[in-house]
């Protein structure tokens, strides 16, 4: 064996690296429970329910029923605005996956609120869907027959679009209506 030293070195190095990576992955897995808590926090904020940081999960469970229908998880409010349904919807935007959180009122006629959970659209243009002002403009907008994002909103089912971000707005509109259609099927 001429190359035993080389082989031994690579075996040892790969073993050490594998062990390190496995422990990093384990640490990541145990921390990912945190992501759930962060998502609960977004829903609580949307419903303007106050909760101290360390009680997030507990307060969330007291306030919401969790129901899974056809692969989508629905969070139904029990105390504040009872019957309001919150759920995630996602789809492709211009450049990226856009993930939104939607809340629909108990009569399933209006949006209670909307939050963009993740996106990587053009900064300064489509990326502005992450701005709180834009997201707040979805409060109380009717979703029948369909929600529409248009240039000058005048109807109760219309929201003002962002200049220079037509494609992102179109995608967002599609994602929201797809989510609502899914909810209609589930309930």
């Amino acid at each position: 064996m001429k190359h035993w030293k080389m082989i031994l070195f690579l075996i040892v190095l790969s073993t050490v690296c594998t062990l390190l990576l496995s422990s990093a992955q384990l640490a990541y897995n145990s921390a990912s429970a945190m992501f759930n808590v962060r998502f609960y926090r977004v829903i609580l904020d949307l419903f303007e329910i106050e909760a101290p940081e360390e009680m997030t999960e507990q307060v969330f469970m007291e306030n919401f029923d969790i129901m899974t229908v056809g692969g989508t998880v629905y969070y139904i409010s029990k105390i504040k605005e009872p019957g309001t349904v919150a759920f995630k919807s996602e789809g492709s935007g211009l450049w990226s996956r856009i993930e939104v959180l939607l809340a629909v009122t108990a009569d399933h006629e209006k949006l209670y609120g909307m939050r963009v959970l993740s996106q990587a659209e053009t900064p300064g243009l489509g990326g502005r869907i992450s701005e709180i002002e834009f997201q707040e403009s979805f409060r109380g907008v009717e979703i029948r027959p369909q929600l529409e994002i248009v240039k000058f909103a005048s109807q109760p089912n219309e929201v003002d679009a962002i200049t220079g971000a037509s494609r992102t707005a179109q995608s967002l509109e599609k994602i929201i209506n797809k989510g609502v259609a899914g909810m209609d099927k589930a309930f």
Binding site: M6, A27, G164
Partner: protein, 216 residues
């Protein structure tokens, strides 16, 4: 031990500035700066400089990975068989990068999402491999740390300077704080990818003009 690439250590001045460590450090920070000296690692420099916060996290990630990687390789230099040294670099840097990527996902999820694949792409960043092959493999640990810090901070300095101007012109803010009044419309061109090319080109142009003047 080989001489560190035939560097001239200045004979006059403060003691710190006379050390070899300092000379090696400045070499990476300025004369052989990865971005405008060696024109390396441009892909990430173009992609993550739209916001200062993104550039800062990316620079810190590169500095940490560069220093740790170079140090490990410098320590192991007598053990690493010459014929498989590239494989060894790859294994070590991949382990480091994936670990740092997971840590960023845990601690700064928003910025991690904004950086997208560029943290994972540090594995193939020429700066890391370049410093490992050109310096760490045949220099002592102390000098290697200076070299890695110099190159890493040179990269960070370039990224932060570009990001400063791109965020200022593209968003009118710095680190997310608005510094230009709302009434002025920011030039969104600088926040989108084509703007990165203009900003980087201008940056290298200005730096080269300064360097040429100093050389005369």
């Amino acid at each position: 031990m080989k001489e560190a690439a035939g560097l001239k250590v200045p004979q006059k001045g403060y003691r710190l500035f006379k050390t070899k460590n300092w000379t090696v450090f400045v070499e990476g920070l300025w004369h052989n700066n990865p971005i405008f000296g060696m024109i390396l690692g441009l892909c990430s420099a173009l992609a993550v400089t739209n916001l200062m916060a993104n550039a800062l996290v990316m620079s810190l990630a590169v500095i940490v990975i560069l220093v740790v990687n170079s140090t490990i390789i410098s320590i192991l230099k007598s053990v690493i068989p010459e014929r498989v040294r590239m494989i060894a670099y790859m294994l070590i840097v991949s382990t480091l990068v994936i670990t740092v990527d997971l840590m960023l996902k845990i601690f700064v999820p928003d910025i991690s999402r904004a950086l997208g694949p560029y943290v994972a792409l540090i594995i193939t960043n020429c700066i890391i491999m370049g410093r490992a092959e050109a310096f760490a493999i045949n220099n002592p640990v102390g000098l290697t740390v200076s070299d890695a810090l110099g190159a890493g901070m040179g990269y960070g300095f370039s990224l932060m300077t570009i990001a400063f101007f791109r965020e200022l012109t593209g968003f009118g803010s710095l680190f997310g704080f608005r510094v230009i009044p709302e009434s002025m419309t920011p030039a969104a061109l600088f926040s989108i990818p084509p703007g990165a090319f203009f900003a980087l080109g201008t940056f290298i142009l200005i730096i080269n003009a300064i360097r040429r003047r100093r050389a005369q």
